[in-house]
């Protein structure tokens, strides 16, 4: 089993979600995050111009069985892409064990 973590643009979230559903990755967790990066966003507040490196992104955490890994990563790479600085990153890591609380299933039965 693998955990795929992806930081993506909020504006790309709907496309990524649809693509994941299409490859039958049906459950995952996400939350909104703030990070610091190379991209600078300019703002004006009450006449004061300021640029901030604090950037708003969405963080996805998806746990899949090994056969799903490649297509999941591909789906995100394809749909979260704009080509501009700030498209985000994908991290893949090993998951030791998974349990589904309701049914007590474990291992690959308990994930996508």
């Amino acid at each position: 089993m693998k955990k795929i973590e992806a930081i993506i643009r909020k504006s790309k979230f709907d496309e990524v979600k649809t693509a994941l559903h299409q490859i039958e990755v049906n459950f995952f967790t996400y939350w909104d995050v703030t990070g610091v990066g190379n991209e600078k966003e300019g703002h004006v507040y009450r006449g004061v111009t300021y640029s901030t490196s604090d950037i708003q992104r969405r963080y996805l955490s998806i746990v899949v069985s090994d056969p799903y890994l490649e297509r999941t990563v591909e789906a995100i790479l394809k749909t979260a892409y704009t080509g501009m600085v700030g498209d985000g990153k994908i991290f893949v890591s090993e998951i030791q064990e998974t349990y589904r609380i309701r049914t007590k299933e474990s291992g690959t039965d308990a994930v996508n």
Partner: protein
């Protein structure tokens, strides 16, 4: 009592209630334009300056302002102190809500870093002494500015510029919020909820329909036409102020700025308060436009050049536009205004009045705040400021989930 008198009284009481509601507007604008960690402190300041003001103005302030004038400078304190004059209760109510408005203006300018105790004491002295004395010069029939023919119908200067001038002195003496200026550069500290700020501006706008038309102090007979006209001049100036501020920011910042446009409404309303009965609708529109343009540049000037930290723009909205609006009566008044063939006499009187009251408000505020600075101090500690005033000054958070 005849029906006309009863109607007049009722109108004054309704209008006074609308002005009272402006306290809610001020609270919302100030909290919206500042950070969430200080919301509770701003609630308490706005609530308590009204409560303290109600007592102080009843006890002494009203008499100092409306008692028989002594040399045109102050009212006789012995005449109405601890007010209990059955025939004039409506007058006390109407004037109390005005006094509280002048006091509450200061709250926004010194938000997010001022000691609560210090604010309460300053607020008390504002409604007890500072506001009533300059008010007596204009609104007491025996006041020296009243005798000169100075026009400030509903208080652009008497209420707003007094509050604005006190704000300027207070914000300068308290000093900027931590992080506002680094390496001599002004930094943006965005407010936490512009929706709250916008609701506050709408409420203030509604309140202004009590503030200005109510200052006619009567509605029977032909007064009704005068009141209706003031509704129009007031509304036009507010609208023009917002339009001007929006287009100015659209041009200079590339996008129509929300908080500046909200300030533009208030700038127009403050500006027309002095002349709402004396100018024509087109005059009101012009005053609104001029104030709406001025407020944007004034906020930038005070922030970037003077480096005085005024989170809500109280100095610009109430001080600068209050003074400007009062002076502009000398230009736009249909009777005696410069543009209506009245020459420079009216303009001169208006300017003298603004300078005199501005000097009094700044001087008196400076003395009070300087003494407070040397005794109990003006600011909270650095730790309290960074964590937020809510948790340290009041022991609780406003937003708990």
């Amino acid at each position: 009592m005849d029906t006309n008198t009863a109607m007049d009284l009722m109108w004054v009481l309704i209008a006074g209630s609308l002005v009272f509601f402006m306290q809610a507007g001020f609270t919302l604008v100030e909290t919206g334009f500042t950070r969430s960690k200080n919301t509770g402190n701003i609630i308490m300041k706005n609530l308590m300056d009204f409560c303290i003001g109600s007592v102080a103005f009843w006890a002494v302030g009203y008499s100092l302002m409306y008692g028989k004038s002594i040399g045109g400078l102050i009212g006789d304190v012995s005449e109405f102190s601890f007010f209990d004059s059955a025939a004039d209760m409506h007058s006390l109510f109407f004037q109390t809500v005005f006094a509280a408005t002048a006091a509450t203006i200061v709250s926004g300018a010194i938000a997010e870093r001022t000691k609560f105790t210090t604010y309460l004491i300053f607020s008390l002295l504002m409604t007890l002494i500072i506001y009533p004395i300059s008010g007596s010069w204009v609104w007491n029939a025996g006041g020296w500015l009243a005798k000169m023919g100075f026009t400030d119908f509903a208080g652009s200067t008497v209420v707003h510029a007094v509050g604005g001038c006190a704000s300027l002195v207070a914000a300068a003496l308290v000093g900027p919020r931590i992080g506002k200026y680094t390496d001599g550069k002004s930094n943006a500290i965005p407010g936490h909820n512009l929706m709250i700020g916008a609701l506050g501006v709408f409420i203030l706008w509604l309140g202004w329909f009590g503030f200005n038309p109510g200052s006619q102090l009567a509605i029977s007979g032909d007064n009704a036409f005068a009141v209706a006209k003031i509704f129009i001049t007031t509304n036009l100036a507010g609208a023009a102020g917002a339009l001007a501020a929006m287009f100015i920011t659209w041009i200079f910042y590339k996008k129509p700025d929300i908080s500046m446009t909200l300030n533009g409404v208030l700038a127009g309303l403050v500006g027309v308060t002095a002349g709402c009965a004396a100018v024509s609708p087109i005059g009101a529109l012009m005053i609104g436009l001029i104030c709406g343009i001025t407020v944007v540049f004034s906020i930038e000037f005070i922030d970037k050049k003077l480096k005085i930290d005024d989170p809500v723009g109280a100095v610009s909205v109430h001080g600068v536009c209050g003074a400007l609006g009062t002076i502009l009566v000398g230009v736009f008044a249909t009777d005696g205004g410069l543009l209506y063939g009245g020459g420079f006499e009216k303009l001169g009187v208006q300017t003298i009045g603004v300078l005199a009251i501005g000097a009094w408000a700044m001087g008196a505020s400076f003395v009070v705040l300087f003494i407070l600075k040397k005794t109990i101090g003006l600011r909270v500690t650095k730790e309290e400021e960074i964590d937020g005033l809510d948790i340290h000054e009041h022991g609780t958070n406003v937003y708990n989930d």
